[in-house]
Point group: C3
Chain length 343, copies 3
């Protein structure tokens, strides 16, 4: 793939500035430190300075940046513009749209048009695969599971029996959708399994990282809402329901029946006690430990979770603690002395 | 599968109450909000109110509930009764008991009766597989490993060389039993591998979630005791020994040589320093960070771990910290003023 | 494998002490409690006492230990000596060096000499595999990926497209190298994927545990430096760079663009905010939560991270908090009384 510099500017709806040759051939878009004389990059604060001396043919910058002493393309949103170019220049993988005869297709499997199923993938009985789906090697699709159109399942993914994956979903390697929830009845110290007869529903436009575990519901469904994006190594317990367009960062764990609104962000390594509700548009800072409901539009942090501001104040005070212990003792002594004099 | 309402009541050893037709056909058992007119559900506090207006044919409730204004089946233990019904109505998967000729069977592999080995599973040389075992696709069983009767290994599980998995064990997708423990000798800043020549022993009746990592011992064995149940994304370091009937909730990590008694609960995201002992019948609250031994029958929380009660008191006080810093300063000033007047 | 006791002493460059038969046949090296009369073990404080009464033929101990009342082999470094013996006695697995015709080799794949590729491994188009590489079943090697000489990839590992794995690397089961980094542009609440067009570079002599996720860079490379050793269930975000000979313990998560020097230790369950720098030779105690740069040679702990010593002081003071709240109130009252008397 190659474009002229002028074409690039047009593609991102930007204005070329400084010295340039409109017809210069551009072969890629990459980071500031990597970009060569036939590539473009982008820069925002605090990387503008660094970008001036880089080797790129041009730097995509915000339209209101002044005094940028190098060829640039000024745009409204440099990140979005750069994203357009990444999509244009990204190395295309050649994927043959065929169903390998070294994959396993069970009885009564339904498969859409233009589907790729690579060697050693296993589609179990009565599963349904939509159009334009790409299934990498060593994927397991359980009995009666459904995978929607244009979805991509990377190597080693499991979608267990009866689970439903929507359209335009990407699931990265070795993630497991629909293993049994952690449910037991304990009597006399022995734990008896509660059958997990529900499923998992992954709605459209979801992306899930690798080595993630989303458990099937005891009854009914564990749900990941439309457009929600999940990072790596996340645990979602049985019967959790996540709303639309949430962001769940790596190593977060939500215990069973956590109910989450829309546009909620869980930064990394967050945990939640089960059976609580997290309101829409809330942000849980990294490592927040939730033990109670969170209202809408909250920014929470700490364990147990509280408002982020309050948490910051407490954390700032913590440093004084050892001193406070000493001071308190001293004060007590001085006060006692005073009281004794008084008498 | 279908039963009459009277049969259902008998199966759970319960008494039908309110208005009902003994011969009504029941086709399933599910959650309160899902249950239709030919299904049963169960309810305990605080869900009783909600259950009165649900669509279920009958609600299984505790025998001492009064004034429940809907058809019910009264029993001693509603959860246990519901569990019986889940087992009866759970959708049965059809699994053909055969060894696929697209699986790999190494040299000198021993395989019991009535075993299922699906395509793309790999049973390495000298492994032993018991009777009635189900091995899903893409499972790897290492050299000289043993899998006991009636055990179920889901897709992508690894049981590495020389490891032993007992009877009636369930291991969910992509869990790894017996990868090398994390052991190195460091000299001049370089880390040299310590061979991990021990194994892992998973005793009978254990269930392990998905994406779990249980490392093999340096020498001797890492052991998961009989009846212990483990959730997802758990790390168990080399030479850990867990007793019987423990519960280990998601994302817990036990460093090497953690020795755990019986009936211990690790709630989610717990961590332990290695080479410590956790006494039987203890409970580690979520996120507990253990750095020293825990006596039997303890309830611990926090990091570093302490008694749960003490932790609660500390956490309650934390909110006062910012105020305390100010107050202390003020007190000091007032005291000083007093002292100066005094002179 | 068997050696005489005299041969063992020579192998570890040690001196036999106490009563012994030089020609005694030694068949193994194992732990104190396991070692039988034809095996050797090692002991350091506080295990010396225990070792005196063990069944081993001889105990490897430090040369300066006095009064050890049992046959021993005195050496400079007992651990290192024992490691030599573990390597000698470790059970050898028989691995046939051949490329299975039940593996998938894509178009234009290059494969070195003496390579093992087991059934159901999938080497995608244009991948390069070096000499003496061992690839276990169900491994996926993406398009244009490279694997260096003498590297071992265990079952279920994914090395995604364009990623590079060096020489003498060991990657344990179900680890994923090079899945997409977690990058989105959010507009009007909707998240649009930022293509992740970089790769991952794993340098020589690295070892990585199981179920680890190392994400590919947005542009350029996520890098794991030469000789670094990683445990299980670790998350490394896109564009992280780890230096040489680091130790990363289980369940640690480094957010995107964390830049780490050489010889850094991350104890278990550490987390880092992205875009920070951790200086060489630093140690992050277990569960440290990094939110800012760490200078070289630091020992940090806590969340937010601070010097380990300061953290210890704060944690010691915490226990006093509930009392301090009370004391402060009391002091206030006493002071007020005094002030009032004064007037």
């Amino acid at each position: 793939m190659q474009k002229t510099l002028a074409e690039i500017a047009k593609l991102v709806n930007g204005k070329l500035q400084g010295q340039y040759d409109e017809n210069l051939i551009i072969t890629g878009a990459t980071g500031i430190d990597l970009a060569g004389p036939n590539e473009v990059t982008f820069a925002v604060d605090p990387h503008l300075e660094e970008a001036i001396s880089c080797n790129a043919a041009a730097v995509i910058i915000q339209e209101d940046v002044e005094g940028f002493n190098k060829t640039s393309i000024k745009v409204k949103n440099p990140r979005a513009a750069f994203n357009i170019l990444l999509n244009i220049f990204k190395p295309e993988l050649k994927i043959e749209h065929k169903i390998s005869d070294r994959a396993h297709l069970g009885n009564n499997v339904q498969i859409g048009k233009n589907v790729t199923i690579m060697d050693f993938a296993y589609i179990d009985d009565n599963a349904q695969i939509g159009d334009d789906v790409i299934i990498y090697p060593n994927v397991y699709i359980g009995q009666y599971a459904k995978v929607g159109n244009n979805t991509e399942l990377h190597a080693g993914v499991s979608v267990r029996e009866f689970c439903v994956v929507g359209k335009n979903v990407i699931i990265h390697d070795n993630t497991v959708i629909g293993a049994d929830g952690f449910g037991f009845i304990t009597r006399d110290g022995k734990h008896t399994k509660v059958p997990q007869v529900g499923n998992v529903i992954i709605e459209d436009d979801v992306e899930i990282g690798c080595n993630v575990s989303i458990d099937r519901a005891t009854t009914s469904s564990t749900i990941i809402g439309k457009g929600t994006k999940m990072d790596n190594l996340i645990h979602i317990g049985h019967n959790c329901v996540l709303g639309e367009n949430c962001l769940v960062v790596a190593q977060t764990g939500l215990a069973g029946s956590t109910i989450v609104g829309h546009n909620v962000t869980f930064a990394g390594q967050v945990g939640s006690k089960g059976h609580i509700k997290v309101g829409s548009n809330s942000v849980m800072a990294a490592r927040t430990g939730l033990i109670a409901d969170v209202p809408e539009n909250s920014v929470y942090a700490g364990f147990p979770a509280r408002s982020h501001q309050e948490w910051l104040r407490i954390k700032a005070s913590e440093a004084h603690l050892p001193d406070m212990v000493k001071k308190l003792k001293l004060l007590e002594r001085r006060l006692k002395a005073l009281e004794e004099k008084k008498d």
